[in-house]
Symmetry: C2
Subunit: 280 residues, 2 copies
C-alpha cells in the first residue's frame, strides 16, 4: 500500500477551532474511503498533514472531499539520508525523463540537513546515477520530498477543491430542479454545509453524491411547496438553497433564509464550474 | 487617434434581445469615456464589434466596463493587401522581437484572400523584410489582423471582465459595511444590475465607482435599518445585496429579496476576486 499525503489550506486559518475542522476532515476522508469501498489503514494527522495508507485509486475519490487542497501518493521512508536517496532512486527509475529537479519541503526543522543541502546532494546523485540534467523550470520530472516525522517522496500532486469540510457549517435544504440547483448545492457544500435535497420531480443527483462526504445525502420528493417548511422544521434547518441566477431571480413564499449562490457568477465562470464539478 | 476594437461575448448569446444589450454597452462605453474625460469619436457597432477612435489610455478605463470581453488598440486601414502589408510593417518596426507570428481573423468572408493565405503571405513578408523567424507557439510578437469592413492590425489585447452591461437587469440596493459588501455589489453589477449604495457609516466606495458606468452611483447614509425599505419603495427596487458569506450569514428584517452573492465562493476565490477588482 502507498502512503497518501493530504494537504488542506483554508482550515489553517481557523485559529483555535482548527482541531475541530481537522477532525471533521479526517472523518469525511474516512467516510469517503468506506462509501467507495477502498481499503485503507492508519488514517491520522501529522504536522499539518493528514496521512493514510491506501491504493493509488483512493486519490480519485479523495480529491472530491471538500477541505482538501491537494494530495500526493508518496513513498514513506525513515528520516535518514540513505533511505531518502534510495526512494529518490526508485522514483527516478520508474519514470522516463530527460530533465528533472528535486524540491524539498522541510516541515520538521529538526532534520539535520536544510532543504537546499538536500536538493543539491540528491540532485547530484540523480545526475551521476542516471546521467540526467537538472532544470529548475518546467522539468520533465519533479521529485518532491516532504520532511515531517518521516520522509515522503512523490512525483505527482492531485489538486482538490479546497473549501471547508462538510458538516463544519450549518445544514440547508436544497431545491433540486435543474443543473443550476445542483451547482448551487455543491457550492454551498464546499463552504461546509450539509444539505437535504428536495424536489417536485425525481432528479439525477449523482453530481452531488460525488461530493457528499460528511453527511448522508438523500432526496425527498415534495407534493407541494409548503412541504419544504415542514422538512425544515423537522430537521432544524433555517436556509433554503436555490439555483436562481441574476436573470432568473424571483421571490419564494417561505420564511426560510433564501440562498442563491449563483447570482454573482458570470456565464463563463458558470460554464467552468459545471465542467469542474462534472455537471452535464 | 487610434482605433479601439471592443469585443463582447455573453451578449452574443442573447438572441433577439441582442441589439438591446449591444446598445446598452455602447451607451456605457460612451459614459465611461465622458466620466473619465477621455476624448473620443465615431463610437459605433460593426460586425459583432464596437469601434471608437480615441487615445491609448482609453483602454485602462474601458476594461472596467462590464460586458466587454477584450479590447485592442489597432491601426485601421482600407481593405487591400498593400495597406495591410504597410500596417504590418509599421507594427513590426515599433517592436523588438526575434520570433513572431501573424494571426488573421476574417469576419468578412467577402475579402478575396483566406486567413491562411494572408498569414502565409504576410509572414513571408516580415521574414524577408526584417529577417525574423516565424514561431507559432509563444512568439515574442503576435501580429493580429481582423478583417471586417476595414482591416485592423494590432499586437496587444487587454482583457475585460465580461458579464452583462450595467442597466440591462434590475436595480438593487446595496448595504455597504465592509469590503465583502463592495465585492458583492461589483459582482451583481457585473450581472447587469445598477445599484443604490447605502450604509450607516461613510465608506470609501471608490472600488465600486471604478465600474459604475450605466448608472449614477451614489451613497445614501442611513439613520436606521428601516430607511432601506423607504429608499426601495421610492426607487422601485425589490432586492437588497449584502456582503454575507456562508460563515457570516444571518437573516435581516426586510421584505426585500435578499442577495448574498458571496455564499458560493471559497476563501481562495474571494482573495482572487478582491485582487482582480482592486479591493484592498
Amino acid at each position: 500500500m502507498d502512503t497518501i499525503l493530504v494537504r488542506y489550506s483554508e482550515i489553517g486559518l481557523k485559529g483555535k477551532n482548527r482541531t475541530y475542522f481537522e477532525n471533521k476532515l479526517v472523518n469525511n476522508i474516512r467516510e469517503c474511503m468506506k462509501k467507495n469501498k477502498v481499503r485503507f489503514s492508519n488514517l491520522h494527522k501529522s504536522r499539518g498533514r493528514i496521512l493514510l495508507y491506501s491504493l493509488p485509486k483512493a486519490a480519485t475519490y479523495l480529491k472530491n472531499v471538500f477541505g482538501i487542497a491537494s494530495l500526493s501518493i508518496a513513498k514513506e521512508v525513515e528520516l535518514n539520508h540513505k533511505a531518502i536517496e534510495k526512494a529518490v532512486e526508485e522514483a527516478s527509475r520508474k519514470e522516463r525523463f530527460k530533465t528533472f529537479r528535486i524540491s524539498v519541503q522541510r516541515l520538521n526543522k529538526n532534520f539535520q540537513k536544510t532543504s537546499m543541502q538536500l536538493e543539491a546532494e540528491l540532485g547530484a546523485f540523480v545526475v551521476k546515477r542516471f546521467r540526467k540534467k537538472v532544470k529548475l523550470e518546467n522539468p520533465d520530472l519533479n521529485i518532491h520530498i516532504e520532511i515531517t516525522d518521516k520522509a515522503y517522496i512523490f512525483t505527482e500532486t492531485v489538486f482538490g477543491f479546497r473549501g471547508l469540510p462538510i458538516s463544519t457549517q450549518g445544514k440547508v435544504i436544497s431545491l433540486i430542479e435543474d443543473k443550476e440547483s445542483l451547482l448551487s448545492t455543491i457550492l454551498v457544500m464546499r463552504r461546509g454545509c450539509s444539505a437535504v435535497l428536495v424536489g417536485f420531480k425525481d432528479f439525477d443527483i449523482e453530481p452531488v453524491k460525488r461530493f457528499a462526504y460528511g453527511f448522508e445525502v438523500k432526496f425527498i420528493k415534495l407534493k407541494k411547496f409548503e412541504d419544504i417548511e415542514d422538512i425544515a422544521k423537522r430537521n432544524k434547518i433555517k436556509a433554503l438553497v436555490v439555483g436562481q441566477t441574476t436573470e432568473t431571480i424571483k421571490n419564494l413564499e417561505t420564511d426560510l433564509l433564501l440562498l442563491r449562490p449563483l447570482v454573482g457568477y458570470s456565464k463563463l465562470e458558470l460554464i467552468q464550474l459545471y465542467k469542474q464539478f462534472g455537471i452535464k
